[in-house]
């Protein structure tokens, strides 16, 4: 079976090496990929939606429906973890002494206290500056979650800071729904789904699109952050029986020491 896998992998590699040279050269301005739709995006994205970052305009507006799908994919991954691992014990609101299984030390603790506010602030910067520089919802959401997860790592899994697992589920779903809702508003007003230029805002069409992009980016941020925290919490949750055993073993260990 293993040798068969190797043959399949090698065969795919050979096919790729054999066929890739007949593709148009990378960066060729005459190639179909650079001459068919791309010029439209390059020439019009500033006038269409007042946003200089082409990646953002293509991802969230011209092909915004794909990104709704991708946000849903991320939410799906979180829910899949919840379904497969999630019947394990939920976190307790008021953790006992043994629940605080941190591997923190004073140094780590101080470093985390210093870092976390800046991580969260940077997350917001990346989100809101996505119109102008590399960034946007996916990156911002990952950073937000990274801040929360850092605290979890240092202070223990039940530190009670940030959001708990149930709230993370709600964040993941409501973030995706926020994206969906922006599209739904325009659809219910009788226009096309995700047509931000028809949003009921007292602005020019290009600025309405700009605001629409911001709206869906916030949705993506919330969905991604919620999903990351949810997956982290699912992965380090322990089954009910194991948890009981773990706690009693620790007690026995503590008594043995004294």
């Amino acid at each position: 079976m293993r040798s068969l896998s190797w043959i399949a992998v090698l065969f795919t590699g050979v096919v790729l090496f054999y066929t890739a040279p007949s593709l148009p050269p990378i960066g060729d301005p005459e190639s179909p990929a650079s001459s068919h739709v791309s010029p439209y995006y390059i020439e019009n994205s500033v006038s269409d939606m007042a946003t200089p970052n082409l990646v953002t305009t293509v991802v969230t507006d011209y092909r915004g429906y794909d990104t709704l799908g991708e946000t849903t994919v991320i939410m799906t991954a979180g829910l899949a973890c919840l379904l497969i691992l999630g019947f394990w014990t939920p976190m307790r609101r008021h953790p006992t002494e043994t629940d605080r299984l941190s591997f923190g030390s004073p140094v780590l603790d101080a470093a985390a206290r210093l870092l976390v506010p800046y991580i969260l602030l940077f997350a917001l910067y990346v989100l809101f500056h996505g119109h102008h520089s590399p960034g946007g919802g996916f990156q911002g959401g990952t950073l937000l979650a990274a801040g929360v997860i850092l605290v979890r790592l240092v202070r223990g899994r039940d530190c009670g800071w940030g959001v708990d697992r149930e709230q993370a589920v709600r964040l993941a779903c409501s973030g995706a729904f926020l994206y969906y809702a922006v599209g739904l508003i325009t659809m219910l007003m009788g226009h096309l789904f995700l047509d931000y230029s028809k949003l009921p805002l007292p602005l020019t069409a290009a600025m309405r699109r700009n605001m629409g992009i911001l709206g869906v980016e916030i949705g993506v941020t919330v969905a991604v952050a919620g999903t990351m925290i949810l997956i982290f919490d699912c992965l380090h949750a322990t089954p009910h029986e194991d948890r009981e055993a773990e706690v009693s073993a620790e007690r026995a260990g503590a008594e043995g020491h004294t």
């Binding site: 179909p32 799908g69 729904f177």
Partner: protein
């Protein structure tokens, strides 16, 4: 009063306009319901179940309306965000899509009842995850059916695949191992699709299917175009579980939770086959002849038919046997596409619908047997026909349909497939159809014999099978009969439109 003032013709026109505008809701309704159901389930699981069921019901009605409009007025196109293709993403439903959409919506609705009953058995800490994933699966499959954009198809392929992995993993015993294998090989399939799409994008500069069909002839002869098609076909062949790429499927079908099973077994492979149909007939064959590629696909399909039938013979577990039988049956569909004349394509499209109904009927009936005896092997169902005459009859009808006994629906799709093969003078393929039918008779009659002629094991445990498990089986068996009896109408009314719209002349 208001309606009286509007002439009748205008009312119809208005309704048609409304349905056109609401077309993408076929995907958006289950998608939105999936996002809301974990939030709702945290407050009231019962309300969440009604909400999910209501969304699927609404979706089924909408898909019927859209289908009727497409059959009446021709294809519907929808441009997301107001961007016309190839700048933006397009949904386009033609006659074939109009056949698939109600099929997907129907099966999603049908197995929801037993699926949500299953979810109740899980602890509430799940937060409605099972139901959300089920709704995501139906949204993903529907998205594949209605999209006119190759990358958008990939996104929805991912949504449906991810949710299937999780749903399969929610089953019993070795379900998690089966789901893990499925995850690995399914990711390979998705990678192949992206490889192929990347090649085609580099060659044509577009992702829209119709636009690509226009721009492809200029580059169709290049090595990269052939490789692009080959990667896409290989990716979809894994998703369709064609032999020898079927390895994930028997385990996944065996251990998946019985609630989600009729839906997954009926629709997953069909939607992948439909995606292949779109790529072959809406993109590549519009760009130019591809006779050699089609002939190669025909041989792959023939191999799949024979291997699936032979492997099904050796199985004691009925779920596993049905899974191998599906490997053979999806080969029928692909063989029809590859023969490529009007009869064969008619047969293949008809077989997608018929096999979905027949196979899910088998799985639903088997679910009822299991609910009663706790077993799913050939010996476990011995003598059950006395205790469960209706369910046994439903299973038998579906099995006879798959074998191809008239007047059941499986006969008619096989008839068109064989007629197409004869017309194309493809005698080896005619022989393959014949041999596989004989093998099908053998492996299904073992079960029918066990059901009717053997006596039940006295000490076996017996429980009462709930109505929510039996009713779908009976309904589907009725459909197997109805689709067969009214086959002439189905073929006469719809297939000319379908073949005229998307297929060959």
């Amino acid at each position: 009063m208001l309606l009286d003032a509007v002439p009748f013709q205008d009312t119809i026109g208005l309704a048609a306009q409304l349905i056109r505008r609401a077309m993408p809701a076929m995907v958006l309704i289950p998608l939105g319901a999936a996002m809301l159901s974990p939030i709702l389930a945290a407050r009231s699981p019962r309300a969440a179940r009604f909400f999910g069921g209501g969304a699927l019901l609404l979706n089924f009605f909408l898909s019927l309306l859209v289908s009727n409009l497409v059959w009446w007025q021709g294809p519907i196109h929808y441009h997301f965000g107001g961007w016309a293709p190839p700048i933006g993403i397009e949904y386009s439903v033609d006659a074939v899509g109009a056949m698939m959409a109600p099929l997907v919506a129907f099966f999603a609705l049908l197995s929801f009842a037993s699926a949500s009953r299953l979810e109740k058995e899980w602890t509430p800490s799940h937060g409605g995850a099972f139901q959300a994933l089920y709704l995501l699966l139906s949204a993903g499959l529907m998205g594949i059916v209605v999209t006119g954009d190759l990358f958008n198809l990939y996104v929805f392929l991912e949504i449906s695949s991810l949710s299937t992995y999780a749903l399969v993993a929610a089953g019993e015993d070795r379900a998690k191992v089966a789901a893990f294998r499925y995850l690995i090989i399914g990711s390979v399939a998705a990678t192949f699709w992206v490889f192929g799409l990347g090649y085609l994008y580099a060659l044509t500069g577009t992702l829209n299917m119709a636009d690509m069909a226009e721009r492809l002839p200029a580059v169709i002869g290049s090595r990269a175009a052939v490789a692009g098609l080959a990667f896409i076909v290989a990716g979809l062949a894994i998703k369709m579980a064609l032999f020898p790429l079927h390895g994930w499927q028997p385990d996944a079908y065996t251990y998946a939770p019985p609630g989600a099973m009729p839906f997954i077994s009926a629709i997953m492979a069909k939607v992948s086959a439909y995606a292949l149909f779109r790529v072959l007939y809406d993109v590549f064959l519009k760009a130019g002849p591809a006779g050699e590629a089609l002939e190669l696909l025909g041989w792959v399909a023939a191999l799949s038919i024979l291997a699936g039938s032979v492997l099904a013979l050796g199985q004691r577990d009925i779920r596993r046997m049905l899974a191998y039988s599906s490997v053979a049956q999806i080969g029928y569909v692909l063989l029809g596409f590859s023969i490529g004349n009007a009869f064969a394509v008619t047969g293949a499209l008809l077989h997608m619908v018929n096999h979905a109904v027949m196979k899910s009927c088998c799985f639903a009936a088997l679910g009822a047997f299991r609910a009663k005896t706790g077993r799913a092997d050939v010996d476990g169902v011995a003598g059950l026909a006395k205790e469960m005459p209706w369910t046994a009859a439903a299973f038998t009808i579906a099995a006879l349909g798959i074998i191809g006994i008239p007047p059941l629906c499986g006969f008619f799709s096989k008839y068109y497939l064989i007629r197409g093969a004869v017309q194309a003078s493809a005698w080896p393929f005619v022989a393959v159809f014949g041999v596989s039918s004989v093998l099908g008779t053998v492996y299904f009659f073992r079960i029918i014999e066990s059901l009717y002629l053997r006596s039940a094991d006295q000490g076996a445990k017996r429980e009462i099978a709930p109505l929510s498990v039996i009713a779908p089986a009976l309904l589907l068996a009725g459909l197997v009969l109805a689709l067969g009896v009214f086959s002439q109408d189905v073929v006469g009314n719809f297939v000319p439109i379908i073949v005229g719209a998307g297929g060959p002349s």
